[in-house]
């Protein structure tokens, strides 16, 4: 431990906090995230997630595949989907969207669901958000790797061709993670005071899925619809993800918008969370 005593013989404090401290005090990664607690929280989520289910970790794969199949048949009925390419298109979009929506749902509830912990012990609160995003990222990475295996299989037995862009797939995943941390910080601090927000977010996520590039490329749309879809926070990442995996083209407008969202939510989310953080235990 730290045992500092300065020359005057006076006590050198390790920690000091006053009522008047501002929200920007103590910004260093070390004071924002506790690595030990991050690890046990992530471990807990991984271990508990599919306890007492018959298929266990298989659900990591089944969920996106079944969802993509559902939408494939829906769109096929409308005459808007044909063959394997459409299915792969949907599947890659669904993987990214599920990463985004499931994690965001958990994040906006995170303070309320962890209040037992937060009101009994102190640790850097953002640890909770990062652990939740890490769990989502872990799931998404596994799904991506399996998707890559499927594509590898197709490239041998079918007419699919990889491009060099495939190595770019971590970039959209990381972009989504950063976006989620920013949005999670903002929404979790807002739900502490305004619980209605949880329901609003659930509804908005459903709506936003259809106004994103999950089901059609941004550039295939025209006019106002194209702008609305390009301005969806997830459209850029989804398009980049598809560009990496399937080699489809992406919209620069959507990608630029994604980066703007990331910076916006990270900064605003952090500031709002900091101002709410210290009174969480009193409000909830």
């Amino acid at each position: 431990m730290i045992h500092n005593e300065n020359e005057g013989g006076a006590v050198w404090w390790d920690q000091k906090w006053s009522a008047s401290d501002g929200i920007l005090k103590e910004i260093s990664l070390k004071k924002l995230i506790s690595p030990g607690i991050f690890r046990v929280l992530l471990f807990r989520d991984l271990k508990v997630s599919y306890r007492q289910t018959l298929l266990g970790p298989l659900w990591f794969v089944l969920k996106p595949v079944l969802t993509a199949l559902t939408f494939y048949f829906l769109f096929a009925l409308l005459g808007r989907a044909d063959g394997l390419n459409s299915f792969l298109f949907f599947l890659s979009g669904i993987v990214m969207w599920m990463f985004f929506s499931e994690t965001l749902n958990r994040l906006s509830d995170s303070i309320l669901t962890n209040i037992n912990l937060l009101s009994k012990v102190y640790f850097p609160r953002i640890t909770i958000h990062t652990a939740i995003v890490a769990f989502g990222l872990f799931t998404a990475v596994i799904q991506t790797l399996l998707l890559l295996c499927l594509l590898g299989f197709l490239s041998v037995f079918h007419d699919f061709q990889f491009s060099f862009s495939v190595f770019l797939f971590p970039i959209p995943l990381l972009m989504t993670s950063l976006l989620l941390i920013g949005m999670g910080l903002l929404f979790s601090s807002l739900t502490v005071h305004v619980r209605d927000l949880r329901y609003v977010i659930g509804f908005l996520l459903q709506l936003l899925m259809f106004l994103s590039s999950v089901f059609f490329p941004v550039n295939s749309q025209q006019g106002i619809l194209k702008i609305v879809i390009a301005l969806n926070p997830m459209s850029g990442s989804i398009e980049l993800f598809r560009y990496a995996l399937l080699g489809t083209e992406f919209s620069w407008m959507a990608v630029t918008a994604s980066f703007v969202y990331i910076f916006f939510f990270l900064i605003v989310g952090f500031l709002v969370f900091r101002s709410v953080e210290e009174n969480i235990a009193d409000v909830v």
Binding site: W13, S18, R51
Partner: protein, 400 residues
């Protein structure tokens, strides 16, 4: 060497509910403030064990939460040297789905242990908990007692310099409580600094060296633990018949309403050494309890330091009582009171079965009785107040 300094801490809460959106935007900001703590200052040296006393709502828990950084003070500054761990609950963060083994790591890490510390103390923790056989069973299949043991075993092996402990001893069975107390004794002998909040004045006396008393958010006493405890227990004991209800627990189908002390053939509201003394207790049925049920009652007598001296339990006499009307009055008669002069604290209990988990009504430290000096042995010599606590009937004969 100072390890903790608390300077003019204040904490205010706004009263009432948060208003909805419309009121927040357009209403006037005039909610009343309530100061849970105000101008509290003290400092702690390394190795000191501080007990914080105070009735419910005095601000003890708020103070602990501020020191452990869970909530932020409205005023003042806190300075800390060294690692701090707060034990405001046994088994913080336990996950019912995970095994005991996993939960040791989860709980230990959350309380501030490093992975290496947990690994190196793992065997001790398991042995202390006595749960070797259940280590790979999910905690949801544990009994509540087993959970407490596991949680406490982890807590007892925390390696931090400063330990903040809140009432955790109030749970767990008696034998395990005793082991925990021993372990805590051991911890405080290692030169660790401990802040301790509990209603158990006895364990306070045993563990702490210094005590502070909080009353309505203000620090009203800071000094030796013995003085603090007797001061604390004396706070509300001036009027004998008024019951201090702050430490009430139990299912509450019937409850104590009043208690009155006297001496046979007199109305004096006190007791006297050597006299035949009476306690009259009024018990009421609260929410139409079953009329037929029979209950045991017991009064426990503690000295002014909170040390238990004896109990006047109906179990000893194998007697049970029915609350046949809305209320009943019971009278204890103590023949030739053997207690020495002084102030004594009474706790009152109603229960269905001896050793039952859930008592009907418990009033800890609910009132005090003064015992005046008297002549116990009938020898016309008054036993004046000295260091004796008890007088036993005896005689001395010359046999050789």
């Amino acid at each position: 060497m100072k390890v903790l300094e608390v300077n003019n801490i204040g904490k205010s809460y706004k009263l009432g509910y948060n208003k909805g959106l419309v009121q927040t935007l357009f209403g006037r900001k005039s909610r009343d403030q309530f100061w849970a703590l105000k101008d509290v200052s003290f400092s702690l040296n390394q190795g000191e064990v501080l007990g914080i006393l105070g009735r419910n709502g005095a601000g003890k828990s708020t103070l602990l939460k501020i020191i452990s950084k869970i909530t932020k003070q409205t005023e003042g500054t806190i300075k800390i040297k060294g690692r701090t761990a707060s034990l405001l609950e046994v088994g913080t963060g336990f996950n019912p789905e995970l095994s005991g083994r996993d939960n040791i790591f989860l709980n230990g890490t959350i309380l501030g242990m490093t992975r290496r510390e947990i690994v190196s103390h793992f065997d001790e923790i398991v042995e202390f908990s006595g749960l070797q056989k259940f280590l790979d069973t999910p905690v949801k299949r544990y009994s509540s007692g087993m959970r407490v043991r596991l949680g406490f075993a982890v807590a007892a092996h925390l390696q931090t310099e400063i330990l903040i402990v809140d009432e955790v001893l109030a749970v767990g069975d008696f034998e395990f409580q005793a082991r925990c107390l021993n372990k805590m004794d051991e911890v405080s002998n290692q030169g660790r600094t401990i802040i301790f909040v509990s209603h158990h004045t006895e364990s306070m006396l045993r563990l702490c060296s210094r005590g502070i008393i909080l009353s309505s958010g203000k620090l009203v006493f800071d000094g030796k633990i013995e003085q603090a405890v007797s001061n604390y227990l004396g706070i509300d004991s001036d009027s004998i018949t008024s019951l201090n209800l702050s430490n009430r627990s139990g299912s509450g189908e019937i409850q104590f309403k009043s208690i009155f002390f006297s001496i046979v053939n007199s109305n004096n509201p006190y007791w006297k050494t050597g006299a035949d003394c009476l306690v009259r207790v009024n018990i009421e049925s609260v929410n139409n309890s079953e009329r037929g049920k029979e209950y045991y009652v017991s009064l426990v007598i503690k000295d002014s330091l909170g040390k238990r001296i004896c109990s006047l339990s109906s179990v000893f006499l194998n007697k049970k009582f029915k609350v046949s009307e809305n209320s009943i009055v019971l009278e204890w008669e103590v023949n030739k009171l053997g207690l020495s002069a002084g102030k004594y604290i009474i706790s009152a209990f109603i229960f269905e079965k001896p050793g039952a988990q859930l008592p009907i009504d418990v009033l800890e430290d609910c009132c005090a009785v003064d015992v005046y000096e008297g002549d116990y042995y009938g020898s016309n010599i008054v036993q004046s107040k000295g260091t004796d606590v008890l007088y036993l009937p005896f005689d001395i004969r010359q046999i050789q």
